[in-house]
Symmetry: C2
Subunit: 399 residues, 2 copies
DNA sequence: AATGTTCGTTCGGATTTACAACAAAGTTTT
DNA sequence: AAAACTTTGTTGTAAATCCGAACGAACATT
């Protein structure tokens, strides 16, 4: 189970109500994880008294976080009253900005999307600011009865405290203060996070049961570049000023097929990203004129799945370098699992063997075996990531 | 300030006395950090009431953890009573096992060594078991009035829960259950940890003020191999089953001068350890027969400091590869600092420039600058590491 | 219909902190 | 030298919380 942290950045003293806050979070998370569940069950599992659980449940009910959904089956006595998270109420607005398109969605406590809107991402910072402000304001007005908060996922380095984006390599944006603007003009709280970290958070809170119980894992997001999200002890690790997770710029060899966004030809990202795959493919087909054509990553993966020789070769070569980087992460951090996300996972069968053979080497030395898995977040991992930024806070600091 | 974790592995509920436990730890850490300090000062800084602080201080005093040391200067009213950690009482036995020698020491709460004993490390597991049991028992009998605990630092993978060493590459020891043996035969608690992790813990709790306030850093220990200790968020990260920190086996290039203990020629360790340095030097001097002689790492560092050309060339070449690995860690984990320990740091001036120029590349992209520092633990970092295993527990889970 | 089981609630007891009042031990002002 | 002020540490009461026992409600089984 995830760790629920009781302390903020500074060493915080405990007051009489601290104790209630802690137990409130624990009960709320039991409702979330084991729903539908009764008060008696919660008491048994947490070892809190039934009376205490009842009191806490009253509070969560009054705060609109949970609801009763009738009675369960009797096991020889009074029927239990079942509880679950209150669904249907809008609580989070997620802004998922990717190089291609931007999606803004409203979701409830369970992470179900109630409504969403998509538009192409523009290279213009000011246009994006306007468009996002407009859409967020619209949603906020529509669900005026609910207390909404915004989570923003961007492919770059973010500064959560200052509420701004420090750098987005793809568009060369620097110091884009979208977070502040939203808070100032619409008056609702905003959390900004790097896309890979947001995905890690989403896997932790909304992924398969498997991940939700895993406290140490690393997400590897293969897209135009490579992003990594590190979950350590049930918590996303951000590093100094939120700049962690740039393992994409780890040096793994030389003479990559493309130049990395940082200018180097030695980075992992330059060897194993989608851009690297496309470059390899174009180099291969150039030698075979009849095949010469421009394709995107979607099509390349499709060709590989159909068994086209060149595409398969590209997948294998890329998997080799992807494997080297993953192997480095495994020996260094010994996580329970590596979760790969991105379009490349649609050709999982083509790359799995290559990946796992390289990764095997880390099993030397009595290191525990690390699982290698494809993401469980479906087609829009970063959207769920952006929503998680808001939802995880609800569960980790009982409001 | 270090984070003081309130929860164990499982989600733990809070009880009325939990609140006291939390505040007890906080007060104890204030005494440790800001000693000498008065009750009133602690109250001001923690925002606890003076009465509450008094009550907690009474408890810590009764437990023998702190003591009063007379009055301080008045600032216009009654003089404050100053408090500090109780020193002079034996609380920890540290067992520091290195490939060359093993040192066993007794220390008080402040980490001051009261007494120690050293003997050469033998490749025989059974001999080492006997010798360690004998020495620990002797110390335990001598300080019979005090409640001692043992911390063991070894150059290998450890299993803290099971109280045994899983693998020591240098001696090819496997599943050495030294921890259990001590607990069973002498009846005192034992904590076993990898040497690099122990050093990280020691820097965190007993290093320069600078590190003690740093919550994210990585220690790089250069010895026969390379070990890394990772501190995330004021806590040493162990990874799954304590196997983290093996970044020494990260792939950073090919054709290393020596074979890594894992058999590969691509590992960081094979490029930048003491063994790699010696191999480089021998290769250089072989071409110059007059210089041909066998030297150890101590002498090599000495020659470099005297300005011998070949030795300097070796240092620079090694620093280059050390820098690549460190750079990978920086871009991936964005720590506040990298702390290098090992004999190579005695030639800090020879390697610093080379290291920092390679590391500069990570300053691109608006990443915050990571400091590069030599260890502050003096000549016996691993001994202090082993003691820290016991002492950190005292402070992080108020006894 | 009687008995036993399970669920949720109610009430007194214990622990803890907060707050206010107070005593102790200084310094500064008159 | 006496009075007034300041700071420290202690004491006693109120409030919040959980625990544990007792209790009523609701159900199953005999």
């Amino acid at each position: 189970m995830k760790r629920i942290y009781l302390q903020k950045a500074k060493t915080q003293i405990a007051r009489p109500n601290t104790i209630r806050d802690i137990n409130k979070q624990i009960v709320l998370n039991y409702v979330r994880d084991r729903s539908p569940i009764s008060r008696a069950d919660i008491a048994r599992e947490t070892e809190l008294q039934r009376s205490t659980v009842s009191s806490i449940v009253d509070g969560l009910h009054a705060a609109g976080l949970i609801e009763e959904i009738g009675s369960g089956d009797s096991t020889g006595g009074r029927k239990p009253t079942l509880l679950r998270l209150k669904t249907g109420n809008a609580v989070a607005i997620g802004v998922d900005l990717t190089p291609r398109e931007t999606r803004i969605a409203v979701a409830d406590l369970s992470g179900s999307v109630l409504e969403s809107e998509t538009f192409p991402t523009s290279p213009s910072e000011s246009f994006m600011t306007e468009k996002i402000l407009e859409t967020v304001a619209k949603f906020n007005d529509k669900y005026i009865d609910d207390d909404l908060a915004v989570g923003i996922s961007v492919p770059g380095v973010t500064d959560q405290l200052a509420g701004r984006v420090r750098y987005v390599p793809y568009f060369q944006w620097r110091d884009w203060d979208i977070g502040n603007q939203i808070t100032k003009k619409i008056g609702i709280p905003v959390t900004i996070e790097n896309d890979a970290n947001a995905i890690a958070l989403a896997e932790l809170w909304f992924g398969r049961e498997e991940f939700r119980k895993t406290t140490n894992f690393i997400t590897v997001m293969v897209a135009e570049g490579i992003g990594t999200g590190i979950v350590f002890d049930g918590q996303v690790y951000r590093g100094e000023k939120g700049a962690a997770g740039e393992f994409g710029h780890m040096i793994v060899g030389s003479n990559a097929p493309v130049q990395c966004s940082c200018g180097s030809f030695d980075c992992w990202e330059a060897h194993a990203s989608e851009n690297a795959m496309l470059a390899r493919y174009h180099k291969l087909v150039k030698e075979n004129i009849s095949l010469s054509r421009n394709i995107d990553i979607h099509q390349l993966v499709g060709l590989a799945n159909q068994g086209e020789a060149e595409a398969l070769a590209v997948m294998k070569e890329t998997a080799k370098y992807l494997g080297i980087g993953i192997s480095n992460l495994i020996v260094g951090l010994s996580p329970q699992a590596i979760v790969v996300s991105g379009k490349i996972t649609r050709a999982w069968d083509c790359i799995y063997d290559e990946l796992s053979s390289i990764i095997e080497r880390s099993v030397r030395q009595g290191l525990p075996k690390t699982k290698l898995l494809a993401s469980s977040l479906g087609d829009q991992p970063t959207l769920i990531g952006s929503l998680s930024l808001v939802l995880a806070k609800k569960f980790a600091s009982a409001s």
